[in-house]
């Protein structure tokens, strides 16, 4: 399986887009070596705006650029992109539905060393709640590239959540990315696992292990959290004994909320895997932190077994 770094792919894709479309502009809040917008800066300095450590101004400034016809990508860590700039995103970008792409990098717990202040457990919930906003969580590098290319020409605001670490690819190279579409990654008949972000590759790994026990697991990548094709979710949830949701985000307002809301009234039991209502913390490795918060392949395996 190919392993890629989504933020590296993101940075490279921005450069590709910059070559193809002169209206692409990129704004950064002094984290360009982490978000990888430094690649765009090197090639297109006249369309790159270093906004200093000022996320609020960056976000409204991007709205202004959009009002002159530019397609603006703002960049920071997810916790600041969605949190610190919330009012700017809401007022100037989402109410009039401007073409600004808010890119939240080092999302979830992926900035493991920096602790609670730099880890975003609630960014998806915040962004989903704003009318007109599209919310996307790519599973890997390939999906990141396809998403970034797709949203460059998309109408209206988009929030894109990007992980800091290498992730095994699960999104097929020949598959087109369509906003709103959940993707069947692996067919199965006993249990459905709806996952997104880094949890998709873990769900796939769990499904492979469980197959050896004779348990057939369907894995669905729900990378579009808003909008999302509800009929497709219902179809993927049907005919199974149980459902697991898996996300690197608070259980409040993210994938678990999306799926259980769509399946309301459905009798199939659901086990949600995600971050219980608490903040992140520092650790010496990403895996150690994922273990502490229960975001592991083993947790998915255990949950599936419980539902059998």
């Amino acid at each position: 399986m190919k392993i890629q770094n989504p933020r590296q792919v993101y940075g490279e894709t921005l450069v590709e887009l910059g070559r193809e479309n002169k209206d692409i502009v990129v704004l950064e809040a002094d984290l360009g070596k982490s978000t990888m917008t430094s690649l765009f800066e090197e090639e297109f300095p006249e369309r790159f705006f270093e906004m200093g450590i000022g996320e609020a101004n960056m976000t409204s400034f991007a709205a202004g650029l959009s009002l002159t016809g530019k397609i603006a990508f703002t960049n920071s860590f997810a916790v600041f992109a969605a949190g610190r700039s919330f009012d700017q995103i809401r007022q100037a970008i989402c109410i009039p539905s401007l073409n600004v792409r808010i890119v939240g990098s080092s999302a979830g717990l992926s900035d493991f060393g920096d602790g609670a202040t730099h880890q975003s457990v609630e960014d998806v919930a915040i962004m989903r709640a704003v009318p007109n906003m599209t919310v996307l969580v790519p599973a890997d590098g390939t999906e990141t590239r396809k998403m970034v290319r797709k949203i460059a020409g998309y109408k209206g605001p988009v929030y894109l959540r990007i992980n800091r670490h290498d992730i095994p690819d699960t999104f097929p190279e020949d598959q087109e990315f369509v906003v709103g579409k959940p993707y069947l990654i692996r067919e199965g008949s006993d249990i459905t696992v709806f996952a997104n972000g880094i949890m998709v590759s873990k769900a796939l790994e769990a499904a492979e292990t469980l197959e050896k026990e004779g348990i057939s697991v369907r894995v669905v990548n729900v990378s579009s959290l808003k909008p999302v094709d509800e009929d497709e979710i219902k179809r993927f949830a049907s005919g199974v004994k149980g459902i697991v949701t898996a996300e690197e985000h608070s259980l409040i307002g993210g994938l678990a909320s999306v799926i259980t809301y769509i399946l309301r009234g459905n009798a199939t039991p659901v086990i949600p895997i995600g971050i219980e209502d608490r903040f992140g913390q520092s650790a010496h490795s990403y895996d150690e932190l994922l273990e502490e918060y229960g975001l592991t392949t083993d947790k998915i395996i255990d949950s599936v077994r419980k539902l059998m």
């Binding site: 502009v25 101004n57 976000t59 409204s60 400034f61 009002l67 002159t68 700017q88 007022q91 009039p96």
Partner: protein, 274 residues
């Protein structure tokens, strides 16, 4: 337009503001009236724009960062012909084109959604930067309030405007000295303003915000500065032109009685006939 004509326009705009506020409904009368002359100069003398083609790419842009003064902008847009004056009668009614704060999707001539204070200046900076990428001759004008500059984002924007040398950006600071809860200097002092903006790398000038000749003069002076953003401190009177409302904090977002409404209309009507 000449100075006398612009003075008359300012008076007409105030009259429209009073009619929009009406009787027994709250409306941002004070901060709208302090801007009448500046807005008249911008829309009827200064800016290149085309009310019949609001999205014309060569136009100058205007953002009212202190979006609560929307009524004066609505009056100017209607007077300029962006939409019929009958829309003014429906302001803030359910489903109306004219919302409580500027709304670009519904209102021709509104360039961006403003009113969450402190954000319009950043947007204006982004517009100025965007126009520069396109090598557009368009200039950007923005109005901020002296209470509004307590918002930290104003200073983030001020830094970015001078860092990017946005010489196509001109900002009026409506220094009417009153904010919602009382005098700016007493409630939350944002002074001194001139020194702060100069320290942030702006070209700063000052004018009587109700003297059209002076406003025109400082605008021309600002035109000669092309490598810096420009701030014009406009010394104004909140509620200007309506005697009983001048410098009265209660009319920041106030209600008029029938008697006050008639009195204000009569005063402005008289002035308009002079």
């Amino acid at each position: 337009m000449n100075i006398a004509e612009l003075e008359k326009i300012a008076c007409t705009l105030r009259l429209d503001v009073i009619r929009m506020v009406g009787v027994g409904q709250k409306g941002h009368l004070g901060g709208s009236c302090s801007l009448a002359e500046i807005v008249a100069v911008l829309y009827f003398h200064r800016m290149n724009h085309d009310p019949k083609n609001p999205k014309w790419s060569g136009r100058d842009r205007f953002l009212l960062s202190k979006g609560h003064a929307a009524l004066i902008q609505y009056a100017a847009l209607a007077e300029a012909g962006y939409f019929p004056k009958t829309e003014l009668e429906k302001v803030k009614k359910l489903g109306a084109m004219l919302q409580g704060h500027p709304e670009m999707k519904t209102t021709p001539g509104i360039e961006g959604n403003t009113g969450s204070l402190g954000q319009g200046l950043s947007m204006a900076c982004g517009m100025a930067a965007g126009l520069r990428i396109d090598k557009s001759p368009g200039r950007v004008y923005c109005i901020i309030g002296d209470g509004e500059i307590a918002e930290g984002q104003i200073w983030e924007a001020a830094m970015s405007a001078s860092y990017y040398k946005l010489g196509n950006l001109t900002v009026f600071l409506d220094k009417n000295r009153l904010q919602a809860m009382g005098p700016v200097a007493e409630r939350y002092n944002t002074n001194p303003v001139r020194e702060k903006w100069e320290a942030f790398g702006w070209h700063v000038s000052e004018t009587d915000g109700h003297n059209i000749k002076q406003i025109l003069y400082v605008l021309e002076e600002a035109d000669r500065v092309t490598d810096k953003p420009k701030l014009i401190i406009a010394h104004t009177v909140k509620g200007k032109g309506i005697s009983f409302a001048e410098n009265v904090v209660g009319f920041h977002n106030g209600e008029l009685t029938r008697e006050q409404f008639d009195c204000a209309c009569a005063e402005l009507y008289r002035k308009n006939q002079e």
